[in-house]
Structures are given as C-alpha cells and as structure tokens.
Subunit: 322 residues, 6 copies
C-alpha cells in the first residue's frame, strides 16, 4: 500500500511522522513492559466505541498506578484529531485504520530511583484485511496449548497491560502443532479462557456461552456481539466451560478489534458444528455491519486479488452452511 | 553526577549518544513487552560474570523464539567495547556501572503480519549507590503482598522477560503505606518465591535455605552468594518454604545485580533474628568483595554525604550484631 | 462507662456476675478452640434477628457434632431473659449491647477419653460506638494480605467456629502495612472473600456484587443490607470477584453485627469511588436504621466527645459525596 | 484413679487446685481459639525434651503475635516446679503425667478494643495408658477422610495453635462408623500429611519416609523416632507421598507426645505389611524406651486389667511379626 | 430368575446368545478401557429416552475419536430390535431390563500400529430390583471419600468413558468406613460432585440445588427429575456446594438409570433432614412413575420376598415423613 | 510376518489359540476398564525383569482390590511357559516378543451385584521394530498438550490401570496435525510428567533429571536406564521440572518396555540440544544392549527394508552428534 503522505504519531504532545516516532531506550515500557495499551479502529472513518476503549484504558492505568498526565477528554480529542489527520494519508480507498494507544510509566531518570513523566503514544495503523477475509470465509482452526492464561491472583486479565508474553508462548505452542491455528488458552482450572488477543465464545443449543469473565479481558468487540445477539433474540450465558463443551458447540466465535469477529471451525482437530462458518456467524457479523454502516466482510474481501477471492468463494461455496 | 562526555548506547549496530538512543514506537517491545533483557554490572571496571548473563539471555531468547541476529560472541565483544568506552565518560571517580541488554522482537512491519528484524539495545547506567548504602547498614523490611508470582504454567520465571507488571503490582501492594518496604512474593501454593527483581533466601540453623527454583529466576548474584557460602563451609539447601520458616530464620538476604546483596531485617512486622543486619550477611558480602577486589559496602558508603554516613553508622552501631 | 450493677453471664444454667464468670482451664474450647459461637446485638434494647443467629448456631453445632443439651427454644428464652436483666445495668443511656453465645464441647474428663458435657455461655457486652462513629464518617481502608481464607475443603467458612487465627494472621499482615487498615482476605483462587469478622461487598454499575458465598460466612448483617437494597430497587449479584473489580467499584461496604455496616474508601492504597463514604452507603444504613427504629450513625456519634465529633464532621464535610 | 491430694494448676502466676483452675469467659482463647499450646510428658518423672517444647511454643507465640509476659527460662522453671509438686499427688504408682501449656491473648477489656494481658496456664494431666496399651499391641487402623489439612497459605501447620477443628472434622469423618479409626489427613494436593494430633510416617524398602514438613507440625516425638532410627542405621527421607505409597509400605507409624509411638496396621481397609505391628516398630519403641529408662509398652500394659492384658497378648501372639 | 430362552447380544453386527457373546482379548477396550458406553433401561418394555442416551454416546465417541461405523439411526434401530427380542426371554413377569451399549476402538492389529475396526456391543441385562426397593424404603447413607473426582483438565466427566477406576477407588474408601455407604465424591476444589455412577443433588429451602455441571456427568435421570421438579413448581439452581450445604439440606437425592432415583438419608454420619426418605422424594418419584406409566417403587418392591417387604415397610412406617 | 503356528493365549487357566482367545462382553474390564495390566518383553528370548513387572502388577491389584486367584509364583511360571511355547511360533528370525498381562475384576454375574471371579489373560505379541528403528535413528518430536496427567488425588499414576483415556486424549491433542509427535504431559501444577505410555527424563549439565515420581508411573525401563547411567558415572536427580528446563536440556529421553529407550529431539518445535539423537543416548542404549546381550538398535534396524535403512542412515549420518 502506498501512502501519499506519511501518517503522524502523537508522542508526548507532539505530532511526528511515523518514521521519526520514537521513544527512549530507557523507557520502562520498552525494558519491562511497564505500560498499558488499547486498540480501537474506525468503521467508515469513525472510531468505534472510543469512549469505551478509553474507559478501559483508564482502569488499566489505575491498576498499574500510572498517571497519564492527560484527562480522558484530552485523550479523546487528541485521538480524534490524529485519526482525522491520518485518514486522508492512505489514499481515498483506505477508509479504515486501527488506532493504538500506548502509555508507559516513562523513561527512568539518571538516578534510577524514579521516572519523571509517563510516555503517551497514539498512532494509527493499517489493517490486515486480506488475512481477515480468509478467516471470514474459511474460519479459524484452534488448538488448546499447554500454557495456561496468567491467573488473576498474579495479574488481572481485565487490564490491558503491555505484558503479552503469556499469550505469545501459547501461540508458539499451538503453532508448533499447526502453523495456521490460533491458541484457545485455558485458565488455571482448565476452563476455556481466550485466544491470544481475541475473546472466544460459542453457540450451543441456540444459546451463546461466554467464558467466565474472571479470567478474560472484557472485550469491547465481544460485548458488541453480545449486544447484537441479544437484539436478535439469542440468549447469552456466562459460565465455566471446558473443551468438551466446545466440541459439542454448534458454532464458535472469536472477536478482536481489528477484524471484529471470526468463525472457529475446529478445535484440536475436531470439527465444530459442520466444520465451516455457520449461519449465526453470518447473522451476527451482518448485524454488526449494519450498526456501523459498513459491510465488514465485503470490505475485507476487497483487499484480496480477484483470483484469490474467486478461489476462496469456490472453496467455501460447497459447504452446507454458506 | 556530571558526565564529562555523554555515554553511548548500542542500538542495532550503531553507537549513539544516550540522549539520541531511541526505538520506534512500533516496536513490539514497547507495545507488548515482547522482548527479553539482562542486567549485569562492573566491579572495578570489569563486567562481572558477563558470560553467565549472556548464557541466561540466550535461553530467554530461545524460550521466546527471538533470534537476535548476533552470536553470543558478538554480543560479548560488543558489550565489552561499549563498557570500555563508557567507563571513562563518568569521570575518574565513577568506576562502576550497570550494563543492560534489551532484545525485542522488533518493530511490526506495515502489514502487521510479521516483524522484519529484532531490536538489540545495550547500555550502561549509573548505580544508585546511596540507596544501597542505606540497605547495607540498616537492612530491608519486607511484606508478603497478596499478589502471587506468575506460575510456571503461565510463563517461565526462569526467563528474564520484559513482562514485569506482576512484580510491580506486588510492589504497589507492599508499599501501599511504607515506600521503603520490598515485597516478598509467594508462589501459587503459598511458598516464599522472590522479591521484585531480587532473589530471596535465608539462614536457619546455620544452613542457607533457598526457595524452590521452580518458581524463581535463576539469579546470578544468588549463585555467587551460594558459591562463597559453600566456600565458607555453610551448607545450602533448596526447598518449599513458607513465611513461618522465614519468621524463624536467623538472618535473611536479598540478592540483585546492581547492589549484590542486602540483609532483610523484618517480614510483615516480625523481626528476623535480632532485627538488624547479621554477622553472616557481613561475612558473605565481605567474601564477595574479596572476589571482585572491591569493598562493596565501602564503595556504596562513599556516595553518601559525610553527615548521612555518620548518622547511618550511629544508628546501627548500637545494634548487637554489628 | 460506669455500671450501676454488674451484668450477669449465663454459664451452664447459672447466672453469675461477669467478674465471676469462668470456665475450667480443662475446657476443650479454651485449649483447642473446640467450640462454636454467635454474636448478635440489640437495637433499642431488642435483640436483632435472634432467631436467625440461633439457627446459624444450630448448624455450626451440627457440623462440629456438639450437642448443646438445650433446645433452640430454651436458648432463645434464656438469651432474652439475660438481655432483659443486663440492659438495665449499664445505666439509662446504655440502650444497646452485644450478645455473645459460646458453646464448647466442654471440659475433658480425667481419663482424657471423653467430655462429660458441653459448656454453654451467654453474655452481653458493651459496644465500641466511638470506633464505629469514625468508620461511619471516614470509611475504612483495606489491604489484601498474603494469607488466604481457609478453604472449604479444610473447614467450612459457613460455620462460626472458635478458630479465628486465620483471620487474625490476615489482620496482622494488613496492619503491618497500615495499622489502621482492615484485611480484605482472598480465597484460595485469589477471589475476594471477606474481612476478619466482617462481610465485604461492593457496588459497581449500580448493582451490588457479593463474593461467592462458598468461601464466606453467611452474614446476617450482610443479608439485612441485601434485603434493604432490594427493597430500594438495587440489583444484587453473587460471583467470583478479584481486587481489580473492587478497584473499579463505585462504593464498597463491610458488614458486621456490632457496627452493622461501614463504607470502604480504599483498597491497597487505591481509592474506591471518590475515596470517601458514598451516597449508597448512606441510603442503606438509613434504611436499616428505619427498620430498627434507631439512627445507627447518630447513636454511635453520641459516644464521641463533642470536639472529636466536630472534627470528624469537618474533615468529611468537604468531601463531594457527603 | 484416686488422688491423695488434688493436683495444682499454674494460672497467671498462681498455683490453684485443678477444680478451681479457671479462666474468664471473656478470654479470647475460649471465644476464638486465640491462643497457642504445647503438650509434653514425663518419663520416670522427668519432663522429656521440655526445652524443645518451649522453643516450639516460642515460635507459635511469635507467629500469633502473643507476648506471654514470661521468659522461656521462667516458663521452664515454673513448669518443672509444677510437675515436681503434682507428681506426688497421684500416688506412688503414678510416675508419669502429661504436661500442658496454654497461652492465650487473654480476656478482652470492656472497651473491646484491646486485651490487657495474656493468659498463661500450665497443668499436668493423667495419661490414658490403657488405650495406648491396646494400640501398641494391636495397632491402629487409619482412614483418609475427605477433609484436607489446612494449607500453609491459610495457617501455618508448624505453629501449635488452639484451632483444632480442621483435625476434629477429619476425625468425625473417619469415625463415621468405626470409632477406633484415626484419620490420615491429606494436604491440599492429595499428599499424605498427618493424623489429628499425631505425626505419620512409614517404612518402605527399609527406609523411613516422612511426609513433606511443609504441611505438618514439626513433631518432637517424630524427631525422637527419627533420631533413634538414624542411630539404628535406618535411612530417613522426606517427600511428597500418596496413599498408594502407604499401601506399599512395610510398616507405618504414628507419633504423639502422650503415647510416643504406635504402629499403623491398615489404611482404608488395606493391610499395611502383614496387617499387624511390625518388627521395626518394636525396635524403635524399644530404643526410645532405653533412652528414657522406662519400658514404654510395659508401662502402658500395667494399666490394663490382668484379664484384658491376657486377651490382648493372646490375640496378637499368633501374628507372624510378634 | 429363570430364563425360558437365552437373551441375545449384538456383537459387531451379529446377534449371539449371551453365553457366547465375547470380544477378543486383544481388544483395546479390554486392555486399556479404550472405549465408551451408555446405559439406558425400559419402563413397561419401552426404552426410556433412548435418543438422549444415543446423543450422549455420540459425543463420547467424538471426544475419544472413535468412529463406530454405524449411524445413530442404525444404532437406535438395532437397539430397539434387540430389546424387543430379549424382552420375551425373561418370562412374562420380567417386563423391564437394562440396556447397555459398549463401543471400543477395537482389537489391535498384529503390527500394533493401528486398529482395523471398532467393537460395537449392545446387550440387555436384568435389574437388581430388590436392592432398589431397600433404597427406596430406607434411603442411602453416603460418605465423602478422600479421592477426588478426576478433574476436567485431565478427562472430561461429561463423556461416559470406560475408565471408571476413579469412581471405584472412591467406593472402596467410602465402604472401608461403612460397607453399606455410597461415596459422595468431591471435585478438585472440594465441591460436591457425584457418586460412583449416580448424580447427586439436594433440596434446601425448598429449592433443588445441583452441583456445578462442570465436574459431573450430564445425567439423563437427573435431567428427568429436574424436569418433573420444574413441572411441580420446584425451583432448581446450579452451583458450587460443599458438604456443609448438604448437612443443612432438607432432603438429598441420587439418580441413576437402573433405579431412577433414591433418597439420601445421611452424610458422614450426620442426618439429612429427618434422616429418612422425605416427602419431596416421594413426590418426585411418583411424578416420574406417572410419566412412564409404571409405579417405580412398587415394581421394585414386588421383587422382595413378602416377609422382607413387610419388615421394610415396618421399619420405615414409624418415621415421621412416610 | 508369517507364523508357522498360531501363538496361544492364557485365558483363565487355559491355553487357547490367539484367534479364539476371548473374554465375555459382560467382563467389567471391557465395560469399565475395571482391571490392571502389565507389559514386559523378551531380549534374546528371555523375559526381561519379569519379577519386577509382576511385583508392580501385585501392587496395582492391591490398590484396585482385585484378587487374581493366583500367586505371583504361579503367574511367573505360567508366563515363562507361555513365552517358551510361543517363541517358536514366529519362525527362527522372531527371537523377541512383547508379553502382556491383563487382570480384570471379571464378568458381572446375572444379579449385577457381584463378580464371581477375576479374568486373567496373558499373551505375547509382535513388536513394531520398524517404527522403533526410525525413532532410534531420527528421534522423537514432542508436544505439550493442554490435557494434564490425572492427579494422584484422583487416581494413582503409579498403578498400571486399564484406564488410559487421559493419555489417549493427550495424544490426540499432540497429534492434531503431526501424527508422529508424542505428547509430553504436564501434571496438575504444570510440571513435566510423562508421555502416553512412556517415561520422560532429560540430561542437563551432565546430570539426568527425572520428573517427580509422585505424578508418573514407576517405569521399569526408566529404572534400567538410571541403573546403567549410574554405572557409567552419570549423576541422576529427581525434581519438579517445567518445559523451560527441557528446552535447556542437552538431550532428552523416552523409555517404554517395547522399544526400551528413544531420543527426543524437539519440544514444541524448539530443538533439544542439537536437534538430533545425542551421544549420551547412544551410550545408554549401548550399555543396556550389553546387559541383555542384544544390540537393541541393530535388532530393530534389521526389520527395515534395505532401502529404508540406507535412507535413515544417510539422513542422520550428517548430523554432528552421530
């Protein structure tokens, strides 16, 4: 993708071009992951649920005792200005971007006893629509890795902390089994928790089952799906579920800010439902699309080469549920 | 402290002045703590056990599937050159510095699908000798916080990963009132594990007891103390210990690269031994000092103002064990 | 406080003056905590929910296989007679007292093989209204100690057993951090459980959240608050909550028989809500006061010296929520 | 047993006859088990390992933050005087007694805010030699109850606290049908821990295996057996053992102050070894007897009626190992 | 019981007489329990909820990756034919039988690398009505054994797998305490789970409480009772319950396919309710009887000798709740 | 492989040809896995460590309360006679076979209340030498699956019970994509335990590390390797190890009766050592070969086709450690 103009990044009050947007190597965020972050995105150029993302950011900051030095209102205004400015830079066809906030405790001062002030970074980023398109069409295969989600008595999974290695190790393990799979992490007691950077839930006996929120991030995309599901008359329930419950599911789903929602078609090699994206997935993403005035699947498909798009459609059109 | 010349930092092959040493805001290390690190230090200008530190770094990299793009030999040589160059910069009186390695998976490329190459940073830093001096003389008070050390089934405590928030939250809890207290973290089963960035162990019935290594970083400073202890004829043992065992200890110790070793004088308000730094602490740090040809305590004391030094000595000279 | 006449204590069928009310040193209750107890109190001279307290006592006795040798009706009648008799003894201004039942397995007989008969003790006691007044006005600070609430697979937290050391150790730890704090104990899985002798729950998004009752005493004061809350149209929910959920709460509460209810204003140094007693606390204790025909807060305030009362009001009147 | 003279009890500095030895019903020890205790005994009129018992008492007091107001030396002297005085009271044939120390935090003062001073009680008590005799001859049957030993993260099993209900509930479960069975409690992870008031260990492949001390009281009787075992050339090992390991054992043992040691002959209905007291039990108790100059088994047998003694010997003489 | 004709068994497509119905000793089901099973039964000659049983069988097969080589429809038809044929064989008075499906992965082939095809067995069996009759009249005593139900992170309790030793060991332990008792197994966290081959639930404050389904088989008999309970207006709730909750219950129940439902009258020696079968048990089994057109209790009673029946009725008629 | 004559199987006292060796479909072993088993093998026609295998069988029987109705001596004699008879049947080139014992509780009697007598089966089986040869030459890749080894508080891993589904599910997960991978199961606390039917241990810093035996079968092949290792002067240690420890290992090994020992070359996609069979593996299997007078590797290689053997050697000869 060619940018007409380089997007800018907000770094501690300044707008700088991406290629010049840097932080000190002495920043605690870089050394120790001593920071928090958020990711939101635009639909049709408007940031989706920005207030909810900033509210979650506020509680992540509170938990980690980081004072960003900016009010939530300032963060919101700054974010909107940045997005406005950058949206034009990707050319007319790039209507949507990801929006990332990173706030760290800042660089250590020379005495190593304290930090003078936090580091606040906001940037936009391109979205990997091509990959999303393949997921929408073919679904995602998942594997339960041996590594368990960090338990709440060690670190709250509800805060979005720059400490993602637990998720990454889970991903390495799942992908040692199948390089195309995503991990379905279990919690300390063997309950289904979440994927690496995505919430997981499933449809069984016509009801959507959500893993106990005690062990998972309170996903804003997940909440969006649950809202549209309830509007569609689908019951939702929260509980402690095991892989066996997922094996029996009719459909299963992942949600994540950049790609909204994806269908899960197998777990540990066992098909979920018919092993293809199911009808409820299509209804839900359709309902979400209507909310934001953008056909989420079509938007992603447009990023594929015509040939690839044709093959994807062919490979999935013979499946019963499409 | 006044620098005659600005120290330099190794950033991906280049030596740049500290104030210009930066990484991209798109670096995964900054956003997600997706990296590893090491800290070593010099004694009398020579990096102590650098090979051991680089060996531990190698296994941290292996565990996190990061290929640094440099051999261990190249890292060693680069480190020594950097230290040599920077040692002169602090003036003749600054003979010793900390040495930090940070290696992250690097910046995300624009497609967000992969990273092109890792980020390798090496820098030196000043040491907070004044604070160490007070610890050597007065000892450290510890508190067991509610937050448990991340269990190995979530993330290996033996790898030195840029994911320190579990330690920091423990520190916030221990310091809710007393900012001088350090946390003594317990593991998932309630066993004594480690402090935030420091190993813990204790002397009971004349034998040094080390927490089960399953739940703690394999500290190079701790190993150094255990080596000199064995040379002094002190038995060492590893096991599952609870706070009760620490309450009964004769002495207790912390080790960490920058300040080598410190005595612990209380836990949860209960005195350990006589509640002052004990004789075995003095013997051990003395033996370490001889190994490195530097009196570790004196070096730190020299950084205090004369008046402060006098008060410290006065406050502790009346204690039975000094 | 001056007693005109010495209150009496029920000891195994006899009424004896407090100063002569004793049990044998061979009593298993004294040696091993081999007994159960209850605490109720009067409001305006009437014992509040005595039947509920005796019902809970009955199940504590059943669980510990102690036969009190008295029917619940006899215990109720005896209690009411004792309270009637003692209420006059504190002078006209002492309208309310605590009421304590202790039933142990009794003294060991000389052969050490059995106990001949249980020990049944009932007494009234003065209430520490001054301390309650400060809590009502300023709120309580809480700390999560490292010590976990004894799990149900070791001893049921639902029985009120004379084995309180787990709570006391938690209190020592919390107060090593802040001598004015109360402990907020976590259960074995790191969920919020209860304080030492008090139930804990919190208000979030307008709904009262109660920790899973599996790990906590079924508090009669807590149930009273939940009843009045429901009458006021406040939703209540039971679940597994972590400190993070409490950090996000709008208000938090403690309940305990002697002081009914107190607001919690911070946890581990983080403010809850505005960091002062909140409006829902005031509504709830007001509603409770109406139920019992006594203004619970005013009754306590009356026990303070005028100057202290004035200062308390001053220190809190500037807070937004009062 | 007829006493010529009533034994006396030490209660807070006074010596009072047993029948008058009392504590206030307001004592925290009676209400909440807020105290600690010890039990020792005499062999041939001399208190066995009194210093070790008082040392353990000292650490129980430290853990529970109770200051007894007496030095360990005063406690020792007082104990010896009490024993001397009471030994004569049971008649010439009563050469040995149990010795109990109970120290509680004391009675609550009227304000319910503090306790003025601790309660210190020391008494002697008769031993149930007849029951011991039957155990020595026939062995003990054990059952693993469902209730788990309280874990160290809730309360240290190494302190001897007046909170025994966890043990008693285990005993009720084991004795639901067979009142002669003793519980073999498991720890939170299913490892063999201890009985109710007695340590457990076993002989397998000629080596004595002791449960991990993390979950059990550091028994002074157990240590005595391990000492004599080592003197006899028997290896001892500490580890995490499960019931399966006990089923495979050649012999198993219980130790407790009043009866020193007893053989275990079955667990959950499965025979241990030959299902009768084994040769190593006899060697160990013989060696202990020599240490204290008293034949421990014979002393107990003397308390049986001649007919009962004859039957016991008959019932066990036909077993291979006697 | 005399059979006029020998019943037949379905073995891999063939109907063979019981005495000739065999599987190879090389079958993985025989060697390793590498199979799954189901049990249903007839009421008045009609198989009860066969479809539900086959549906559960389907998910057990899916979880264990066994392909039975038969569709669910074929299995249903085959089952019904087998039952029809065998019902006549027991004489006119034998109207009802148990129906068992066993499907294993089949015999290992000579290379030991694979199995050629699964083994499918279906048979009917006589029911032990006499034993059921005694349970209906007198109730069942239960004991909580030390052995915990296998946790879902090791093997799903929701699949009906030929791996029952965990249940059997629990039964051995409970019956070492009381040979007539059934085990009430706890889960890994000490919650009430299930018996050996039977679901457990209880009535408290007029509501039926069902253990968290995460740790128990989804019993079809249990579901039947819950259905009829809801029809009768009894509320049902699912949760984490401990033995203490059961001790406080008004009634408790077991369900299992062959005997439908039985009352539980004690746990660990403590009476549940009045310690006799309660009124809600009678209402529930009555309602079930109406559903199937068979008086379940009377059917069983008819199998007792008249004298035994008379004694049973006498022994229970004096109890308050009958 | 062509048999001149059909081998025979011992079934409850009779020797029957393999094709006629059957058990009733009513056998509890077939329905519920209610049995135990052993596997041994011959080297050069002699059963290796048969006594040790029968001793382990004896304790499996004891734990499961199955009385085989035969003494260990009878089982040994019967086994040796069966092997003698069958060894000739495979032709002169088949010198070695596997030997399997299966003992179940036997068939249920018609009343379903009891079993009349156990089922005892002994058979020999061919060994899959070709597969072993590939493992010896190329090593085994391992994956840690999400499913945890059944904990000892549910079922003892030290008894060899016909309940293998926990192992099989782990295998399905590890093999979701790569059918050649073997699972490395973790225990409930995330420690390395064992594979499915094979012990695991590793060499680190020149010392062999064996997982805590609490969670694994006491493997006779593992003990053989440890014996020869100690004879070769290699230190061995038992402990709680995590995958991280394995990643750092120099070599890792599996042992199992049919193939003795195999090298492990990767875990979760990370190379162990050089990623090829290491020198210590070769030394150990060589030493074992000398013990039994058979070159274990050569024996297996002989079963490959010449071409396949040539390729195997070629593919591995270029690796540094061969």
């Amino acid at each position: 993708m060619v940018h007409k103009e380089e997007p800018v990044v907000f770094v501690n009050g300044d707008l700088v071009p991406e290629s010049k947007a840097v932080v000190s190597v002495f920043d605690r965020g870089f050394r120790w992951g001593d920071g928090v972050y958020e990711m939101s995105r635009t639909f049709g150029g408007r940031v989706f649920k920005l207030k909810e993302h900033l509210e979650r950011l506020r509680w992540s900051l509170n938990y980690t005792r980081i004072d960003p030095g900016l009010s939530m209102e300032e963060l919101e205004r700054t974010t909107l200005e940045l997005v406005d400015r950058n949206l034009g830079t990707g050319g007319p066809e790039v209507e949507d971007v990801g929006v990332t906030h990173i706030i760290s405790r800042g660089p250590m001062d020379p005495t190593r006893k304290a930090t003078s002030k936090p580091t606040v970074v906001i940037y936009t980023e391109t979205l990997a629509f091509g990959m999303y398109a393949r997921w929408y069409a073919q679904g995602v295969k998942m594997i339960t890795p041996a590594t368990r989600r960090t338990p709440p008595q060690s670190l709250s999974p509800k805060a979005k902390i720059s400490n993602k290695m637990n998720h990454f190790v889970a991903q390495f393990e799942a992908q040692a089994i199948d390089p195309e799979a995503l991990p379905l992490m279990l919690d300390y007691d063997g309950n289904v928790a979440e994927s690496s950077g995505a919430n997981f839930f499933f449809l069984a006996q016509g009801c959507i089952h959500v893993p106990n929120r005690r062990h998972v991030l309170g996903g804003i995309s997940m909440d969006t799906v649950l809202e549209v599901a309830r509007e569609m008359g689908i019951e939702t329930r929260e509980g402690d579920y095991t892989p066996f419950d997922v094996y029996k599911a009719e459909e299963a789903f992942l949600t994540s800010t950049p790609w909204s929602m994806a269908p899960v078609v197998s777990l540990n090699g066992l098909k979920i439902g018919q092993g293809v994206p199911g009808p409820v997935f299509h209804q839900l993403i359709q309902a979400w699309s209507e909310r934001v005035g953008i056909d989420i699947v079509d938007q992603a498909m447009a990023y594929l080469q015509p040939q690839e798009r044709k093959e994807l459609v062919a490979s999935t059109s013979s499946t019963p549920s499409l």
